[in-house]
């Protein structure tokens, strides 16, 4: 899947004034590319991810996927695009009252029909269950298959979210701060798992993160976002200390919750 973003901007209206989350972002992502996105809180990473997985309409500019303009697509076509993009959310976004196995099976929804979904609630097809169990084994959660998602620890929820994406079999994986809530021991495991999954089947992997060291170590291409605009976009070897200092200069991480999320909450009136 090839992305190309051309002068994409996104504004939220917060109490009758517009706040820009992204300003005139242009970039292209080739199939199979592995890249990291750096930037402080409020730089627009989460908004960029929502645009990339086709769940947010840009205010202006165009997003093309394999040459097709997202803004001109019907809901049906948009769903077919979304099916091919797997997203790992910062807050995991699991269905709290479903078990790990059921949450993993949710990864099938894009390819299931309504009848198959209803069947999946009552007694899912054996092949799907097998696949889900394999995904759970890969993230070492097979023993928790019947535990509810809200009974899992933060790290386990993170891995369950990965299992759900594995079940989806996407061509692109977007991961928003996948290691932010993990301790150092788990961080390495999750990062290498993501990279391994990404390298399978020549998948595109885009990871947003705070940890500069990790990004430079694992990812060949790094994009720096600052104040909603692309600050740099270059191979990780060409990223130096002054560039990074400038990237974070003037932005303090005052709150743990990103400003991006605050805007989204005000715009859509939901708790995040």
């Amino acid at each position: 899947m090839n992305y190309s973003l051309d002068a994409v901007s996104k504004q939220y209206s917060v109490r009758h004034e517009t706040v820009a989350a992204l300003e005139s972002v242009s970039l292209s992502v080739q199939k199979g590319e592995v890249m990291a996105i750096l930037g402080s809180s409020g730089a627009g990473k989460t908004t960029l991810f929502r645009l990339l997985n086709a769940t947010l309409r840009p205010s202006s500019g165009s997003i093309r996927v394999d040459g097709r303009e997202l803004g001109a697509m019907s809901s049906w076509d948009l769903r077919r695009i979304r099916r091919r993009i797997g997203t790992i959310y910062q807050q995991h976004n699991l269905v709290p009252s479903l078990t790990s196995l059921q949450n993993t099976l949710c990864g099938c929804l894009g390819r299931w029909s309504l009848a198959e979904t209803i069947r999946g609630i009552l007694s899912p097809a054996k092949a799907d269950v097998q696949q889900a169990l394999r995904a759970l084994e890969l993230v070492e959660l097979a023993d928790k298959r019947n535990a509810r998602a809200d009974e899992l620890s933060g790290g386990q929820q993170q891995r369950l979210a990965i299992a759900r994406v594995l079940m989806q079999e996407p061509e692109v994986i977007l991961a928003d701060e996948p290691v932010a809530s993990l301790d150092p021991a788990l961080t390495d495991g999750v990062m290498s798992l993501l990279l391994r999954v990404g390298s399978e089947r020549h998948r595109t992997l885009v990871v947003a993160m705070h940890k500069v060291g990790l990004a430079l170590e694992y990812f060949p291409r790094v994009i720096g976002l600052r104040g909603g605009a692309v600050f740099f976009d270059r191979p990780s070897a060409a990223v130096d200390e002054t560039l990074l200092q400038n990237l974070y200069a003037g932005y303090r991480q005052e709150t743990r919750r990103s400003r991006d999320d605050d805007r989204f909450q005000r715009e859509f009136g939901c708790v995040r």
């Binding site: 809901s75 979304r82 949710c106 929804l109 894009g110 009974e151 989806q168």
Partner: protein, 578 residues
């Protein structure tokens, strides 16, 4: 509205500053209120003298005397039992049908799925999306309409359409409570955590899949709790629907009442109270087990986990109960298959259109509307006065004393206080647990058919409801000021005036207005059993077969309920907001 009230309170403050009791504004308010009350008094045909006439007192005495002893003869107990079973079956069938209608309508009415929010942020604007949003709004409006027509009126409509009996009752409950539940479901569905929904959408799930896999599992505990609560309301309503001929225990009560068999009435009312009591217990237990606060792990596993046998048994019981209920209610094929039922229904619906707006008829409506308003206002006022007076002895803070406190050692004094408290509570419970429609039948016996009977009935029932609420509100105020005043040597009435009233008056006021809103709806239907107002006209036009006039009256009831909703919303928002 808000600014007016702010100006109002500012004026009051000024008045207080100057130490003047009589400000022009207060005088105007008092004159206005007295004028309204005087008009209501006239419209309602209030005849206080009839209340103390010997004939009235004799009728009341005959009735009260006639209630005892209750009729416990085996033959009548069999009738009571049958009535109870049929009431229960009607309630169960009605609840199941209403849930079946309400779930899809509630899903269609959920804003987050169709109208605004996270799931629509990625949708390109086109006619299809606009159509979905419009359809969702339409469904919500439809639910509002179903909810606004009182269940008793639905009962009357279905009795006319499909004939006397439980079937009409079950259908009426299904429609009326589908409106209530659909709205509640839409709210519950809209309140789930939207993040999982976003994730499911990003995977390419359709709206139906998002609902099934994202919304439903999250909403299920709340949906269960509200459904059980609605079931309780359905049992109550199924008992009352009999007054318009929809079977069940209400039918037996009105029958015995008309036959002057008061001993039977007593038995039936006892059975009715018992039924409500049992339903309350069962539903409360189920709610704690299945509801949103049933968090404990072990309980959930008991129900949710591997215990296959238990689950299957539970479902089997559910299916058997549901099937039996439907059969008892008259959903059997030989009954429902009769062609004329559907034909009657169609003819009835066709008869309602076009609505009757003939000049003579429309001009007859304002007096009816006035009468309904007057019944609700005077009835509520009566309830406030009686309930307020009864609430004082029913407030434990005022009446009961701590056994350790000095000065009240004497056993006899304590016993006296204790019995005053419980007598007041018992009286309030009695007034409250007898439905307002039964009170109408009682009042008709005493003062005859008409708006006055309706007013008295509302007043008595409201006294019970408000008295209990008042007493509980007064008991729940912060206790420190009360203790301080008591330590100063304040007597109970001082406590009431200086410690309880200032802290509770806002809550008391909002309860009163909300109850008046409820009473306005009730007063629109009291006429169905002879209590005057719009209901009387509805009943007459149904009996006479003037269905287009009936439709106009229904529209009027709908508007009235919308207006009362608006008043209630404004009041509760203001009290919560300030």
């Amino acid at each position: 509205m808000m600014t007016a009230s702010n100006a109002n309170s500012a004026a009051f403050d000024n008045g207080a500053d100057h130490g003047r009791i009589w400000t022009p504004r207060r005088a105007a308010v008092i004159i206005g209120v007295s004028l309204v009350l005087a008009i209501c008094w006239q419209v309602d045909d209030v005849r206080l003298t009839t209340l103390i006439q010997p004939a009235t007192l004799r009728a009341l005495w005959t009735f009260l005397y006639g209630l005892f002893p209750p009729d416990f003869s085996p033959g009548f107990l069999r009738i009571v039992f049958h009535a109870l079973v049929s009431t229960m079956a009607t309630a169960i069938a009605g609840t199941i049908l209403s849930v079946l209608i309400a779930v899809p309508l509630g899903a269609l009415g959920t804003p987050i799925l169709w109208r605004r929010g996270i799931l629509l942020a990625g949708e390109n604007r086109n006619w299809f999306v606009a159509l979905q949003s419009f359809a969702s709004r339409t469904v919500l409006a439809l639910l509002g309409f179903l909810r606004a027509i009182p269940d008793l009126v639905w009962g009357l409509l279905f009795v006319t359409a499909v004939g006397l009996g439980s079937l009409a009752g079950a259908l009426a409950l299904a429609v009326a409570y589908a409106g209530v539940l659909g709205r509640v479901y839409a709210d519950v569905f809209g309140d789930v955590d939207p993040r999982p929904l976003e994730a499911l959408q990003a995977m390419g799930a359709t709206r139906a899949q998002i609902f099934l896999r994202g919304i439903w599992p999250q909403a299920l505990p709340n949906v269960t709790a509200y459904t059980l609560y609605s079931f309780e309301c359905c049992v109550r309503a199924a008992s009352v629907l009999g007054f318009v001929g929809a079977g069940g225990i209400g039918y037996e009560i009105s029958l015995s009442m008309r036959l002057f068999e008061y001993r039977q009435v007593m038995t039936l009312i006892l059975a009715f109270v018992l039924l409500l009591f049992l339903t309350d217990i069962v539903s409360r237990r189920l709610r704690t087990r299945l509801g949103p606060n049933a968090g404990s792990l072990r309980k959930r596993q008991w129900f949710n986990g591997e215990s296959f046998v238990w689950r299957t048994a539970g479902y089997a019981v559910l299916v058997v109960v549901a099937g039996t209920s439907f059969y008892f209610t008259g959903f059997s094929p030989d009954h429902f298959g009769e062609a004329n039922i559907l034909k009657n229904m169609l003819r009835f619906c066709r008869g309602m259109f076009p609505l009757d707006f003939a000049k003579g008829f429309v001009l007859s409506l304002p007096p009816l509307l006035m009468q309904t308003l007057a019944i609700s206002i005077l009835g509520s006022l009566m309830g406030v006065v009686i309930g307020g007076i009864l609430a004082i002895p029913a407030t434990s803070t005022l009446v009961l004393v701590h056994p350790d406190s000095p000065g009240s050692r004497s056993q006899a004094k304590r016993g006296l206080r204790w019995s005053i408290y419980w007598a007041a509570r018992l009286l309030l419970n009695l007034l409250r647990s007898i439905p307002d429609l039964v009170w109408v039948l009682v009042c008709i016996l005493v003062v005859g058919i008409g708006p006055f009977a309706g007013t008295l009935a509302i007043g008595l029932h409201t006294a019970g409801v408000l008295g209990k609420l008042y007493a509980e509100t007064l008991e729940e105020v912060p206790v420190q000021p009360v203790e301080a005043l008591r330590a100063l040597g304040a007597r109970p009435l001082h406590l009431l005036a200086w410690a309880l009233w200032p802290q509770a008056k806002r809550t008391l006021g909002s309860y009163t207005v909300l109850r008046w809103e409820t009473n306005l709806r009730v007063s629109a239907i009291l006429g169905l059993v002879g209590g005057g107002g719009l209901g009387q006209a509805i009943y007459n036009n149904v009996q006479l077969g003037f269905y287009s006039r009936l439709a106009t009256l229904l529209l009027l009831v709908y508007l009235l309920v919308i207006a009362s909703d608006w008043i209630g919303d404004t009041v509760s928002r203001r009290t919560v907001g300030v």
